[in-house]
Amino acid sequence: MKAFLRVAALVVRKDLTVEVRSLEVVSTTLFFAVTVVLIFAFGFVREGVPTDGVAAAILWITVAFSGTLALGRTFERERQADTLRALMLAPADRPALYAGKLVGMLLLMALVELILVPLVGLLFQAPIFRAPLRLAGLLAAGTLGFAAIGTLFAAMLVRARSRDVLLPVLLYPMTVPVMIAGVRGTAALFQPQPDAGMAQFWFALLVFFDVVFVTLALWTFEPLMTD
């Protein structure tokens, strides 16, 4: 267990160091997320007033889009110098490598969401400070579910042809439960009379989803990544 955590922490540190030196993924993903929100604003704001109840959907769609972009870029970097293969050759637990990659991805997406949520609140008049803890919980659980599947699939796709197209093709049908639960839960918080019970239900579903898929990913990472 100790070795597992140490390997995971080392992978996270390596990813962060690479990222801090270039800021490539953070800056491009953040810029992309902001432009996506703006494009939604052009579609959904009429006469200066945003359409009712679209904020939650826009927030989650943007998270999914920018998450896909970040996943693609992160693993493309690992592919170019064949460093993923080097990582796999290391005498370490494969699941620990997966856990490290997943945590790195989560940190990156959390950073993007930190900018994204206030932006959506600002542009679509969403009450993001009404239940900040519940909103943060929904976002954290949803992002974990999305990233758990995304990291596994992006890692597998590194060896495939036309990986750029295939990542969203595989990822979006798989993460439908995350999208439904995230959008419904957030919408329950954003509506004029917030429904805490409803948000709680969707949060519980997301946590359950996370537990199942993180376990499944840790379990299948080894056979999936072995040639």
């Binding site: 599947i149 596994l152 699939f153 597998m156 796709l157 060896r159 495939a160 042809r161 036309s162 197209v165 295939l166 093709v169 595989l170 049908p173 798989m174 439908v176 439960p177 439904i180 639960a181 419904r184 239900f201 579903l205 359950f208 989803f209 199942v212 898929f213 499944l216 299948t220 056979p223 999936l224 040639d227």
Partner: protein, 219 residues
């Protein structure tokens, strides 16, 4: 083609040819009249779709953990059949819904989860087609994760509202309606089994030829 497959195909063909008469013999339903009879094709295709999905998921898990090539061939065959029968179910369903509910499509738990499962298998075939070498493993992972996903999609959509008739409809059907239904289910099942073993054999031959070609190239 083995004798068993030939026999299955032959019987299925005869049964499909006879099915219009068998279905015609079933009584009209009180509120929907003649139109409800699409159900005799809709439900068997939906069942075969589910069966194909389960076969694909189980075969993929086996392939992933045992690396048996035969399991992969079964998984591909089942995935293709899932798309075929899924498409049949998704086309006949709205035809029925238009008459029963007055709309072509509703975002009900069964409909949505069937559609998402169908999309997962389309993604599976896209991956097989365009993923290049090594995509067998990837697609096995996809099928396995897709299977695990279905209950979540079902629960999450179910929290809205469910219109689709419940599973309890089938055992309570009157005998005159039950007989043609089971007739059609048998015909679909025979067709499914025949196609599954044909396609799996084809896939096994294809991988063998590929391997022979590669070893010849290297020699």
């Amino acid at each position: 083609m083995t004798t068993a497959v030939k026999a299955q195909l032959g019987i299925a063909a005869l049964m499909f040819a006879a099915s219009p008469w068998v279905i015609n013999a079933a009584p009209h339903e009180a509120t929907m009249g003649l139109v409800y009879k699409i159900y005799f094709y809709h439900m068997p295709s939906a069942w075969m779709f589910m069966l194909a999905a389960i076969v694909a998921g189980v075969a993929s898990a086996r392939f992933l953990f045992t690396k048996r090539q035969a399991s992969d061939a079964t998984a591909v065959a089942a995935a293709e059949l899932a798309v075929v029968f899924g498409l049949l179910a998704l086309v006949t369903g709205p035809l029925w819904a238009r008459k029963a509910w007055g709309v072509w499509w509703v975002w009900d738990a069964r409909l949505t989860s069937s559609l998402m499962l169908f999309l997962i298998f389309v993604a599976y075939l896209l991956l097989r087609q365009f993923g290049g070498p090594g995509s067998e493993k990837l697609s096995a992972g996809l099928a396995l994760f897709g299977m695990a996903n279905v209950p979540f999609i079902y629960v999450s959509v179910n929290y809205w509202r469910t219109l689709h008739p419940k599973t309890s409809v089938v055992p309570t059907l009157p005998v005159e309606m039950g007989r043609p239904l089971w007739f059609c289910v048998t015909a679909f099942l025979l067709l499914f089994l025949a196609l599954l073993s044909l396609r799996a054999t084809l896939e096994r031959h294809r991988t063998r030829i590929d391997a022979l070609y590669l070893s010849h190239d290297e020699a």
